[in-house]
Symmetry: D2
Subunit: 241 residues, 4 copies
């Protein structure tokens, strides 16, 4: 299982508060947290500043699941990399979209909607409730998951109706949010998971890591169907024989 | 538009606290609240104690939308009436399932699951958030709807994934609940709406009534498809010509 | 109800066979066919060759439902018009996507997938079967609808799982296709309907017109929710009060 | 992985034509066909005539996936066994519902609808098309699967909208059918698969067996969530701490 963790990696270099929480960068913190939970997984990281944002064709072709964290610089992701990632998802690569990446180009491209939401930075307590207990992404996690302090993300969240809704959050302010959502797009599996604001050490929370490791396993599809989706043959009457 | 409001009508006769809130019974309170919002609607009521629970064949055949409130006596609803109501839903009658009727025989029959949930009577504040703003059932209601005090209903709510999720609630205790859920069953439309505990005057809340009147309009289908669902003809090869 | 019928209008001007079938253009044929079925509707048409493809901001702002037919020149639709149409759908305009417009920029933008499919031009007989009889788009149409000769469109059709599946087609060659699919995107309703190849007079078939008139009524939403989807306010704790 | 194959086992004992095709009974034919495809699986069979129809409490408690074939004697399945099987599905047992078992008590109980359909015995050729190529149940199967001769099952099929639609069939007569449908009910996974009429040797077709072995793996859930669905505790405010 080959996993690439992508991070725009700006907050951690510019904001002292974030630097203190994630001195190694969110991407490396995620690798460190996920490695013990995912046997037989190979990790690599990639960031915005690298050539091709660290996502050349061969990098993506050998990636089974891509995690994506971005916030300040969605618009700096190049058209070329956007196309490449989008295309790989449609051909079977798993994609885990994290927190503020709800506004990333690739997530909006896959959803077709604005992907907007309401938010507030006010140290709300967030509780994530499993609404689909038998879903593999919820396996073995606390019910509910408690984040003592987190950014509030609230409805209305402008996404298509998820194929499967796994988690719904409440916040101290009384808001709710569909915080764990599964989508099938082409041959790829996409999971949006809202925890992960840069000013809280959320990616060291054991249940958050448990969810993410479950999600990676769920999104990883070792065998990709050969049924073609990318061509329109002028099929002969009996082509299927 | 012909609407029947069904109520088991036990709490209001036995419990002084409930009697004070709904001296006329929940069924008549609902009619009183909905009448001004639904022009061209004819209302009738029916209760458990009546012959056939007030739901004879002709009563149901002439009903476009049935509202159902029950709590203490789900098991006193007869097999015959259960079959009749179920059958009418599959043939196109709308059904609005209210609050504790999540455990009613007809709702469990239509869902196929336990329909169980968590609950607490502790004067929680409930906020109902629209997660599908353009849904006709959410038209013109506050965002969120606030119930100052209500019984807590919490996840996990054991229902099939709703065809459309309209409202999600939060409670003072931090719980969440899928409080407004649409289901298509056969030719009938079913809406589950959780507000309505008997010890709070919820059915006089203008937004609750607005939701219910929207739901009645949504569930009412004046013309029923003639495509047969209840027979299995040994169809000839060209029967469709 | 204000309806705009958009057509790239190339086949009808270049291909004598198509010219004979639709001398007035597919857009005007659609208006002619739909007018008697939709009382109180105002129609206008728009084509690729017009300035802004006939879809200036004010044109779209006053459109309740847009029908879209395109085939040869998807890539000639400008970025600006694409953004404008997409944005209007997310804010509540209905969109009916016709036949080869499965590959239009706006449909692919809304779906997030390749929207590809298999096809064959071989005078197949197509039968469209209602799999959701009580859906308003299926009201009053034959079961099945028969198109004596039509282009074959076959699975796998690379779209997200539809929110509601209304029609499934079979073809003489044995293929099947999800030929009538509903999607909610933002506040807008989208219906994809596959009949309409330019070399067959499909848009004069009474059942096809019946479906389209039903779809226009279904997609038309006179009142648009005021719940904001396009902004992310840093909501104060009690903003909802 | 413990698999129980249930069969009413009447046709094979009474009808010489069926006896010739399945002299050992459909249940044993299924075991024979599936064994080579499912390593580490233990099979047992059960039939209507056995005590408790071969489905005592301990039999079901130790079953991970139950396959169910029935046709003539749905109404002879006892209330007790119905409750037991239903309950086990809600608590996580997988269920594969085969062919004419669309009218079995347990499937109708789980669906809440009539589960009726149209049918014809006329040696139609059936083609099963994958409409969800990356679904694990479709892995490695031909596209389409061809059954040279089979009973026609046609729409409208009165089921709730499937959570995932995997296969759609066409028939020589031009009909279509949603022939492979996934449902989540409680903690259990349910797959309906229409091939399997008793007068054709369908359960020896390699692709049918491939689909069934995939479905068994998909429906088998080794670890069941501890989140309770069957009780309604009067939860204290901070019960989740």
């Amino acid at each position: 299982m080959k996993i690439t963790v992508w991070n725009e990696h700006i907050h951690e270099r510019k904001n002292p508060e974030v630097q203190e929480i994630y001195p190694e960068g969110i991407h490396r913190a995620l690798v460190k947290g996920l490695e013990p939970l995912l046997e037989n997984a190979e990790f690599r990281t990639a960031t915005l500043a690298e050539e091709d944002h660290g996502l050349k064709g061969e990098d993506l072709d050998s990636t089974d699941v891509l995690l994506w964290w971005g916030h300040l610089a969605h618009d700096q992701v190049s058209d070329e990399v956007l196309e490449r990632v989008h295309n790989r998802v449609l051909h079977g690569m798993g994609l885990i979209v994290l927190h503020s990446a709800h506004l990333s180009r690739v997530f909006r491209r896959l959803m077709g909607t604005s992907c907007n939401l309401r938010w507030r930075e006010a140290d709300d307590r967030e509780l994530l409730w499993t609404v689909n207990p038998q879903h593999p992404i919820a396996a073995g996690v606390e019910f509910p998951i408690e984040l003592e302090r987190h950014e509030m993300y609230g409805e209305f969240f402008d996404i298509p109706q998820p194929d499967e809704l796994v988690f719904v959050s409440s916040f101290s302010g009384g808001e709710v949010f569909r915080s764990g959502c599964c989508f099938q797009r082409g041959k790829g599996r996409v999971f949006y998971f809202s925890p992960g604001h840069e000013t809280y050490p959320v990616y060291r929370h054991p249940d958050v890591l448990k969810v993410l490791s479950n999600a990676v396993r769920w999104a990883c599809q070792p065998e990709i169907s050969k049924i073609e989706t990318a061509t329109s043959p002028n099929a002969p009457t009996d082509w299927w024989r």
